[in-house]
Subunit: 659 residues, 2 copies
């Protein structure tokens, strides 16, 4: 056990407080000193580092401290018998270790840190007086110290710290490993960044690899002339692309559950939206249960309470979705169409440029408003946990982006009914979008960081009246890290982190290339190049340019998977429409048999799309076999033992249950 | 416990052997006597009744005998802590009782009976000699007595017996209860007929009730003239019917899981096809596992073995489906079209009649061949249990029936493009089909029964040389029951019972009315009447005209649900096509906007169909809350206890697991 102890004691959390010079006699009441003392009491290893204007309290937790917190949190962990049981420090040997040898995963550790930090309360019987910078703050009995200090503005930020050794290891084995381009040390990523980011990169890697097929296919179609069979090329391409996409996502689901099995996370993939981690689900269902407690143990009333709660939830969700959809159709659609139309009818290039600039400013504003409204609406939904809330937000915001990105292209496609113009628009969008996004994504964090650094130095100089040509060095790494931007979403930080933007970019691009596949097969080659660079730059960004992200325990890519599926269905329809336009325009076919053929094709593809998921299960057989084996083994071993203890109490239980 | 003991001792199983007169001295070796002796040894209560030509050995099992068998079978049963544990007779108090107060459900009892009956083996060290009717049979060491006697033709049949008291109770409270027409004593049905039949009747009842809405709507459309809005009536009807159907099946899934919760059967509905009862699933996965045992504990090889097994299974299933689909398209489709076309072009009614007669004979023959081929093909699939096999059979055979029933109607619809002719064909089919089916369904069993009775009496008379005018009375009820036909499927008895025919009738009718809803809205009224009579006659048939069916433990309506869903999708497409034909024909609309509108409508409906199931979970919140509560409670109670015993063994486990 102790051989892993050393690894655990890396400093992983940092609390930022302003730098002050405290006199000796004030030490007892100074709130930073009190905080440090309490942190030490809890069991943290504390290291203080002074920065230019702030002080950084670095925290590390020995295994025992974490274990205590996990037991308090009643954390469920996998044991060797294959069952998830509540963690207890005394029985630590029964629990399975992570692939990297540590007892807790990074998600679990973070949860423990959070619990410990915010669990520091005033346990004495009188309110304590804290001083800071000659101001006094009251720390009430039972109040959390961290929350008090945060509200007073003394604790500026709490953020996870990079672990330098592991970061460098990852940098070497992952980002700077040029031998095997799409190779990823997936286990290391999991243990360093947590589940959700590891899943994202696994997805991105599989996506990039699978993207090679349509990219090559698209290039071939673009270059080769098939002579008399040319009229068949696009329908065949259409069919193969759709099949490719459907198969890709079905295999992704299998890959996802294989990954979860690899990291020994119990999550029933086939249940889909139905059940997250059992523990989570349960805690989330307590709201109606509390209701029930007041009603006594009347089964019928309990059922009714649940049903009311459930249907009220659907009603709210329906209302919210209706609001969002209506406002998208009634407000955003006319706006987007107006822009597309104005752009089309204007003659002068200067006017066009001005219009586009105004449009770009306006949509920034609009999406922000949209995001805020969605956030407000979501709070009225009784989503079961934050990951569901995040999913709900993603659906709503994606609606906005969908309209924004595609309505212009649709307009052009319908207006011109000309593949050349459509292709030009697509190339324009794809290339501009890709280059702009990649440049912004990678330069913005660096610029932000530089600006913050510059400001920090300037402030320092101002305060100390130093001449501006004296160079000030950052003497602590932790200060540099503090100045780095965090991995946050563009639409608000409450529910989503930077993964939102990364996934959004991926889905919008996927939609663009899939929905207009027949108009521009070469787009897949662009997309392949793009997702390949994305794979590298995202990794680089995470490891060098940003703070270490807060780990999230979501086991799938969540809402994005459904959005991808939706885009496939959309692309079946739009490509059929494109084909009709194409063959109608060129007049080679009569409309009658051609239209009928395309319609039948569309329906068959839709059938395949929805049918395939029934025939290819989302969980590979060996994963399921493992899961079942574990469960059966566990039951078999302890069945008798359990039975004996129950049957003694059977009668009293019976009374409670069968009434 | 003993207060329920009396109920348990009803005679529930009957073994039929030929009637013989045995001399006293032969009693020791006579195989019937040996059988009876062994049955008594096992713990059965045996009652022998003499019939005209056969002897009936009625068996009842006291609770203790059943309990012993259940423990031997390692049956999993729900305990009061909400966990399924292996049954043990000593800890009987820990297990939850059925709603009717008995310990075992009828399915479980039947399984125990079966295990006890066929578990009688020759335990002595020498082969025993059995005599019957002066012939001698060798009963080898370790051979099952029942199997030996069955292969020798001495045991003619083993069938479940009706329990007269309960049967009469059900008859009164269900079939002859004319007050509340669709009311059903669902709990009694469950405890008398077992899970699958109870689920069928619950489905049929809900279907009948929901059918009232479209029936009334159809009648209104038929009778009322909407004036200038007439052209909108059919599209609106189309939309509402589709929504109705989609909602119905979504609510049925919820109802289904509510029923399972009521009977305390653990079945994760959200997992759908993924996981049946845990125990079953496990036992079925052992085939590749045995492979693995030979390979040692190499994890990678184990995974590969599973993957090979899984993909081989898909390959076989794909091949089988391809064979079936191809043979339906290449063989059946031309045949059906030929019939429809010949019928159309023939002038004389006599010829038409002859053709139809020949056709009817031929299709009987064809479906039998189809069923046999399907059965053969299925044996090569590695379906996980018999219910999956049955589902696979249902899909394949339904393909045949689908072509048979609808291709003629499609032909007429396409050929004539005339709603009047189509309506006539539909009326003809619906009424003829309904009346014929209902009459056949209810008279055939009675006719069969009468004929068997007549033959039995005649045989008896022949043997005893009595004059034909002497009346012979059946003196035992059990003999009458023996002569009743069993509840068996028309396509072979191995995998399906009579539910196959009942469901087939329901789905074919549902497809007929849904797919041509726009052509003939009144059809729903016919269907409502039909399903209402069905509800009554099926119950009557089961309770009075047939042997008690063998109980089946399937927790859902299985493949039929998917077939219904498929028919909804089909009906979205066909109705769209019908609407196009309609408005194209009558020329009120131009084809351009009309066609586009219908196509958009179709796509929106398809989207709703597939989208809704995502937003309305298949399991009501209160069912899930209950399930989770039970699991959590169970874990919470025994978590510590389990942990302690594991952590002691942790190290050895760790060695096995982490390698």
């Amino acid at each position: 056990m102790n051989d892993h102890g050393e690894k655990q004691t890396a400093f992983e959390i940092c609390v930022v407080v302003p730098r002050t010079t405290v006199k000796k006699e004030d030490k007892k009441c100074d709130c930073v000193e009190v905080l440090v003392k309490e942190l030490k009491n809890v069991g943290f290893i504390v290291d203080r580092a002074l920065g230019l204007t702030d002080e950084f309290i670095k925290l590390a937790a020995p295994l025992q401290t974490l274990g205590k917190a996990a037991a308090e949190l009643q954390m469920k962990k996998l044991t060797y018998i294959g069952m998830d049981l509540q963690f207890e420090w005394e029985e630590v040997k029964a629990f399975v270790r992570q692939p990297d040898g540590s007892l807790f995963s990074w998600c679990e550790r973070f949860e423990c840190y959070h619990h410990l930090l915010y669990g520091i309360v005033n346990k004495s019987k009188v309110d304590a007086m804290l001083k800071w910078d000659s101001k006094e703050y009251l720390w009430e009995v039972g109040e959390s110290l961290m929350l008090r200090l945060e509200s007073a503005g003394i604790v500026k930020q709490v953020f996870p710290l990079h672990v330098e050794i592991k970061r460098k290891e990852l940098l070497g084995s992952w980002v700077l490993n040029w031998r095997n381009f799409t190779n990823q040390p997936i286990d290391d990523m999991y243990s360093y960044f947590g589940l959700k980011i590891a899943i994202y990169f696994a997805f991105l890697r599989m996506y990039t690899r699978w993207m090679l097929f349509p990219a090559v296919y698209g290039v071939i179609i673009h270059l080769v002339d098939f002579g008399s069979l040319q009229f068949l090329v696009l329908p065949v391409f259409f069919i193969s692309i759709i099949l490719w996409a459907v198969l890709f996502f079905q295999f992704w689901k299998r890959k996802n559950s294989a990954l979860l099995a690899r990291w020994q996370i119990h999550y029933s993939a086939s249940a889909g939206q139905g059940c997250k981690f059992l523990g989570m689900e349960w805690s989330s269902l307590q709201s109606p249960l509390e209701l029930v407690k007041n009603l006594g143990i009347d089964k019928v009333k309990e059922k009714e309470a649940y049903q009311r709660h459930e249907w009220f939830g659907y009603l709210m969700r329906f209302r919210n979705n209706a609001i969002i959809i209506l406002s998208i159709i009634c407000l955003q659609l006319p706006f987007e169409l107006a822009y597309a139309h104005l752009y089309e009818v204007m003659d002068s290039d200067v006017m066009k440029f001005g219009l586009t600039a105004a449009y770009l400013v306006l949509i920034q504003y609009f999406t922000k408003i949209g995001g805020k409204i969605s956030m407000k609406l979501i709070q009225y939904e009784n989503n079961e946990n934050t990951e569901y809330q995040a999913d709900s937000l993603v659906y709503k915001v994606f609606g906005l982006y969908f309209m924004q990105s595609y309505i212009g292209v649709f307009y052009h496609a319908l207006l011109h009914r000309n593949f050349k113009t459509l292709r030009q628009v697509l190339i324009q969008r794809l290339i501009v979008y890709q280059i702009l996004e990649n440049v912004l994504e990678n330069s913005l964090p660096y610029l932000k960081y530089s600006y913050k650094k510059y400001r920090a130095v300037r402030n320092k100089k101002k305060r100390e009246n130093q001449p501006s040509n004296v160079k000030i060095q950052f003497n602590s790494k932790v200060e540099k890290e503090y100045l780095k931007p965090s991995y946050s979403a563009s639409i608000g930080e409450e529910l989503e982190d930077g993964l939102f933007d990364d996934f959004l970019q991926l889905t919008l691009q996927f939609g663009m290339i899939m929905m207009f596949a027949c108009a521009f097969p070469l787009a897949f080659a662009f997309a392949a190049v793009n997702s390949f660079t994305e794979l590298r730059t995202d990794a680089l960004k995470l490891l060098t340019m940003l703070k270490r992200p807060v780990p999230r325990a979501a086991a799938t890519i969540g809402a994005w998977l459904n959005i991808f599926q939706f885009l496939i269905v959309m692309s079946i329809c739009t490509n059929s429409a494109l084909l009709v336009c194409l063959y109608d325009k060129e007049g080679k076919w009569k409309i009658e048999p051609g239209l009928a053929a395309i319609l039948i094709l569309e329906h068959i593809l839709l059938l395949i799309k929805f049918g395939l998921s029934r025939f290819l299960p989302e969980e590979p057989a060996w994963v399921r076999a493992n899961r079942v084996k574990n469960a059966t083994q566990a039951q078999g071993m302890y069945s008798k033992q359990l039975l004996k203890s129950i049957s003694g109490k059977g009668k009293t239980f019976g009374l409670n249950k069968t009434m």
